[in-house]
Amino acid sequence: MELFLAQLVSGLSTGGIYALLVLGMNLITLVRNVVHHGFSHTCIFTMAVGWLVYNKTGMPWLAFLAMFAAGVLVTVLSEPLFRPLSKRGADLETIVLAMGIGIILSELIVNFFNSGQVLSFNDEMKIFTTKFQVGAITVSVASIVALVACVVIAIIISTYLFKSSEGRAMRAMAQNLRVAKMLGVPFGKTGVLGFLIAGLLAACIGVICIMCLGYCNAEMGDSFATKAVILMLFAGQGDIKGGILSSILMGVVEAMALAYLPGRWAEAIFYGFMMVIIIIKPNGLFARKAKN
């Protein structure tokens, strides 16, 4: 029982991180019909920038500021790369392009930050280091903060996307670029705005990952990216609520698999399960009705 509870708690906190990543992916699909495989790499990149700034200056707030700047810079600079593809309506190619962006970011982390070694953060950057201990069960304040932040950010983003006129315009552009243009949505400006928000979110995820994990390296980008992309499809592209639910669910499932199944099978089970569900329900687990 103790084992089970410990796993549940661990799974929830891992799920919180997945949920944020999936949220970011969903944001980008909703503002520009792109499955951004490189989004996770962007998050890790902001962490690396934060690490570098902190180690050079010793000022955590400056590091956090730099993280937000880096997140915004990366996403806003990558937005024009997607433009010609979106104009052509080449949705499949955008996936490949996003992978390309991911590799470049990973390579940058390997080459320019601590020569490819693990970047670990100290307590000043982690902010919340308190932990509650009940037997083998550890509940850290950081993971509670992560879960709460996840829900709050999701509410803010979905309110913005679904209730504000700018948000609507972004979604319109992702659904049908031509029609959105005919309705007067400025293509460049709205796209940049959407990616800017995604950049801020990437930095937020970076900060939360620093709090919860306390370290990062280039490989993390890859392993997060594929999981997050598949989780997003699993819940249904653009389904914010479903994305969060299924991320947390998968976080728990993964923790349970680690505990009760041989570790080597965990990955096969994780991906196999999701693939089967995706093939059975191509529009997402939470999709009520297939498109007509």
Binding site: Q7, S10, G11, N111, Q133, A136, T138, A259, P262, G263
Partner: protein, 390 residues
């Protein structure tokens, strides 16, 4: 008919293109030939990539050794030059270099990473090229006499340390944490299962596990009082942290880590929880030996004051030193006409070598296994300190 002709023409174009490319490329590949005016020693190492923290110092040490030898007049009066090849921890890349080198190289040094080495070993054995790299004993037997290990055999040493440690502390039940992706560790686990009576079981730590809490709890549920960390540094440090924080161990002494687990960042991530943990470092960082002190100073000067901590430094230094002894002992000429004979002679010599003066005392090889002191270290106040197991 026309269609067939068009296909034939296209195929011809294709093959001529390939051939043209091939000939153009052939010229570039000639660089690896051994010139008699200079000993070009190709050395493979993961200079960049995920294990660069081991690979870069290693290649540095090889270069340092070459410099030292050249200062003293080279090998038989001919200077040595290290030609580095960066495998990036990718067996495919390593194989590519080996195939480029296999027609001309007298000796190939490295690599520092087990997967790359195992990929190489087969070709090295078939082509009879002597090599010193990172091997465990099972591979050494299979490909004798052409490959040697540049440091003590971790498979055997780990086992010995583990037995000593458990006997000295009186621990009764052992759980291993290991990475299923590490080929060398997989071999060690098999060995432990057979030879350590206190062995309870292994916990697989998949690469990139985010939260190691579940794994720690799993090990605790097995009821062990001793924990062996064989997984990669990144996960090992987290497992160590979880074990201590969740109260699985009373002190760090109940945890023992292998060399691969105690890589860069272990102390940073594990922090205070690493206190008291044991490990083999296979390298005595504070060895009073004069050569080592000199090397250490030179290393610090080149690396912003960071001290050398990884055993391949010693291993790669010793490799070049051994090569000098070997070449001089055998009177190697480097003449391409007798390449095959000289390769075989070098391999035989290295595989069971006489005592050679290294940077931390003497060393030798017996059936390719390096015979060298491997000190036990313990984390004390955030530093590795050499200790002895009572």
């Amino acid at each position: 008919m026309k269609k067939v002709l068009a296909i034939v023409i296209a195929v011809m174009m294709l093959s001529s293109l390939m051939a043209g490319f091939a000939f153009a490329a052939e010229d570039g590949a000639e660089g690896g030939a051994v010139a008699v005016t200079e000993w070009e020693i190709p050395v493979l190492s993961a200079i960049t990539g995920p294990v660069s923290f081991v690979g870069e110092p290693a290649i540095w040490a090889a270069n340092y050794a070459a410099e030292k030898i050249n200062e003293a007049g080279g090998i038989e009066g001919v200077p040595v030059k290290i030609v580095p090849y960066d495998t990036e921890f990718d067996p495919q890349k390593g194989m590519q270099y080996i195939t480029q080198l296999q027609d001309t190289a007298l000796f190939i040094g490295g690599c520092v990473a087990a997967p790359v080495c195992e990929a190489e070993a087969q070709v090295l054995y078939e082509e009879h090229i002597p090599n010193i790299g990172s091997y465990v004993s099972s591979a050494l037997d299979e490909y004798a006499p052409y490959i040697c290990a540049y440091m003590g055999d971790s498979e055997i040493l780990d086992l010995e340390l583990c037995k000593e440690w458990m006997a000295a502390k009186g621990y009764e039940k052992l759980v291993m944490f290991y990475s299923p992706d590490d080929t060398a560790q997989a071999a060690t686990v098999d060995r432990f299962a057979q030879e350590v009576p206190e062995y309870l079981g292994a916990v697989e730590v998949p690469t990139g596990t985010i939260d190691c809490g579940p794994l720690a709890v799993q090990a605790m549920n097995m009821g062990a009082d001793a924990f062996w960390l064989g997984c990669r540094t990144e996960e090992a440090s987290k497992v160590c942290k979880e074990l201590v924080e969740r109260g699985a161990v009373e002190s760090g002494e109940q945890i023992c880590a292998t060399f691969s687990a105690m890589g860069a960042g272990f102390l940073e991530i594990a922090g205070e929880t690493a206190e008291g943990t044991y490990a083999y470092n296979m390298l005595d960082v504070n060895c009073p030996d004069e050569t080592w002190q000199e090397l250490s100073e030179a290393y610090k000067a080149d690396h912003n004051g960071d001290a050398p901590t990884y055993p391949p430094i010693q291993g790669f230094y010793n490799m070049i030193v051994a090569l000098k002894a070997c070449f001089e002992d055998l009177g190697i000429t480097g003449d391409p006409a007798v390449l095959q004979e000289e390769r075989e002679a070098i391999a035989e010599w290295l595989n069971n070598s006489p005592e050679i003066e290294g940077c931390q005392g003497t060393f030798s090889w017996v059936n390719g296994v390096m015979q060298i002191e491997a000190p036990v270290v313990q984390v004390q106040d955030g530093n590795y300190v050499v200790v002895t197991m009572e």
